[in-house]
């Protein structure tokens, strides 16, 4: 899940660079032969990324002869269908909540005085850079039976018995939202900072209400950031492992947990492979649609 953390931080780093006018065209030869420098990285990724994916696909289709049995199982077994559905539902919920909460925060940060914006940004970046396992543990301490939340509620006399806050959808959504909010906030801030505020002001001076100026002028300009956030959050939520497994309480809370269970406990590698390819396919379709419209480097650079 490290990907999550680092992607958002790339977002800030890449977004931080300022465009400069391109220099004159250099000598063609120099431009062309630098392309060989891509080879070592490419070969490495073929060996340790694409070959492994091929192994997963092979595992899912051969057992030992060719079979589609594992895929049939994934889509017909009620338990696995439930997990697939639950994963999608969680991803939709977490993405929706993160966008609804993250967008105003990004708006505030993009507009606030530098000092205030800096403090708010630190509040976003420090959790983002903190170990995901440590953060997930914090939620256990927060929501456990003897956790902070129950302690406070009992002291206030609001409840007599501790509430069962752990190991359910609420806890998982809460923890996942915590982990994914920075992926909404950072790309949106990057885009919002690039918007000329006088545009919305112009709309207002022409008689638009603040709401109309926002709705018809400002909001459309933030769309690239918004689309990027939604896609990023959604695909990260789909493949999320640590937080839903720990806070949801069972491995089969999401597809990723189910895959790990099949591979390491149940030792049904064929099924694990088929589930992996299913998850991969879902993600790949979303990434492909985004890539066609915006380009993959944009996704990681925060929509710019």
């Amino acid at each position: 899940m490290t990907t999550i953390e680092s992607t958002a931080a790339t977002t800030t780093l890449v977004a931080a660079t300022v465009e400069r006018p391109p220099p004159r065209k250099p000598k063609r030869a120099y431009r062309r032969d630098s392309r060989l420098l891509i080879l070592p990285a490419l070969l490495f990724q073929i060996a340790f990324f694409f070959v492994p994916l091929y192994y997963v696909a092979k595992q899912s289709l051969f057992d030992p002869g060719f079979t589609t049995e594992h895929y049939r199982e994934v889509f017909t077994n009620p338990l696995y269908r439930k997990v697939l559905f639950q994963t999608l539902r969680l991803a939709v919920m977490v993405t929706t909540i993160s966008v609804l909460l993250g967008y105003p925060v990004a708006y505030f940060i993009a507009r606030a005085r530098p000092l205030v914006a800096g403090i708010a940004l630190l509040g976003v970046l420090v959790p983002l850079w903190t170990s995901l396992l440590a953060r997930t543990y914090s939620f256990q301490v927060l929501y456990g039976r003897e956790g902070f939340a129950n302690d406070i509620l009992m002291r206030l006399g609001l409840i007599d018995e501790p509430l069962p806050l752990m190991f359910n959808t609420f806890t998982a959504v809460s923890g996942m939202t915590h982990a994914l909010l920075p992926f909404v906030i950072l790309p949106c801030v990057a885009v919002m900072r690039g918007i000329d505020p006088s545009l919305a002001n112009a709309a207002k001076s022409l008689g638009a209400s603040p709401w109309k100026a926002f709705r018809h002028v400002y909001f459309p300009l933030t769309k690239p950031g918004l689309v990027t956030s939604v896609i990023l959050t959604f695909i990260l939520a789909l493949g999320f492992f640590v937080t839903p497994v720990i806070l949801g309480g069972v491995s089969e809370f999401t597809i990723a947990g189910l895959i790990q269970l099949q591979m390491q406990k149940t030792l049904n590698w064929g099924l694990g492979g088929a589930l992996s390819i299913t998850l991969l396919a879902f993600t790949a379709v979303i990434v492909y649609l985004y890539q066609r419209r915006y380009g993959l480097d944009k996704l990681l650079a925060g929509g710019r």
Binding site: K27, A134, Y137
Partner: protein, 274 residues
């Protein structure tokens, strides 16, 4: 972060107090959970619960293995994680950094496809990669080897380095290189004495990123480490699933402290860049 911390033009008249309120609540929600583990880490009983009882350093003692004759379980794992993260950082900075040069500058047929292939590991689910690496390592005999974990982590780290270094290279005035070349420097010499020093902040950011990517990575470690190469996240995971010891709170506190230091360092590097 440079741009993020830089002043922005403000429109005063469509700010709304509700926006400030939501921001305050969200930032509180993001930061507060990191703080609740602090009192637990000083708990004097073997129990994770509020309110904590008394004050003791016994869990810190357990983490560092000071009074345990068998030594610490955590320090060797932390040490291994640091070694793996350093190796990942070196490998991916070299491979990813070299690839950044053509990504930022070269024009050639199929560039878009190759670029997409290079960045793909960042957006596809890590669990699938972990399963694939596991299946690949069985015939290669790399299960349980720290080197195997380094390769897996580098898959995730290389695209970051490429992106960050390429972004820096795009802002770099290529004429400085032509000047060196026209004065008789070789291609390699130009790269070493002109290009690399100028894009150093980008390279350093990329290397730091690669380090952190590896240092906190669980899934690949979970599939590759076996019983021989137990990294810190892997050990933390085992504890989280089985025990409720306050020593986990100690690890959390130390890791959070670590991230505060890292964010501070990045802020410093970025300030130097200005």
């Amino acid at each position: 972060m440079t741009a993020a911390l830089a002043p922005s033009r403000r429109v005063v008249n469509f700010r709304h107090p509700a926006v400030a309120l939501v921001t305050a609540l969200v930032v509180f929600y993001l930061v507060f959970p990191l703080l609740v583990t602090i009192p637990i880490s000083f708990n004097s009983v073997r129990r994770v619960g509020f309110p904590p009882k008394g004050f003791s350093l016994q869990w810190y003692d357990e983490f560092f293995g000071i009074s345990d004759p068998a030594g610490s379980r955590w320090l060797p794992a932390a040490f291994l994680s640091i070694q793996i993260a350093v190796a990942t950082s070196v490998l991916s900075t070299v491979l990813g950094g070299l690839a950044a040069i053509p990504v930022a500058r070269a024009q050639f047929r199929g560039k878009n496809v190759i670029q997409t292939l290079l960045l793909l590991p960042l957006v596809l689910p890590v669990i699938v990669l972990a399963v694939g690496i596991f299946l690949l390592y069985i015939p290669l005999g790399l299960l349980g080897s720290p080197m195997g974990i380094v390769f897996g982590h580098s898959v995730l780290a290389i695209p970051y380095v490429t992106l960050i270094v390429a972004a820096t290279l795009k802002n770099f005035d290529e004429r400085l290189e032509w000047a060196a070349l026209s004065l008789g420097a070789s291609r390699a010499r130009t790269l070493w004495s002109v290009t690399i020093p100028i894009v150093r902040p980008g390279i350093m950011a990329g290397a730091l990123f690669a380090f952190l990517t590896s240092f906190d990575e669980l899934l690949i470690a979970l599939f590759v480490s076996g019983t021989r190469a137990v990294t810190l996240p892997r050990l933390l995971w085992d504890f989280l699933r089985t025990e409720a010891s306050p020593v986990i709170a100690v690890v959390s506190v130390l890791l959070t402290l670590f991230s505060v230091i890292v964010v501070g360092l990045i802020a410093l590097v970025q300030r130097d860049r200005k």
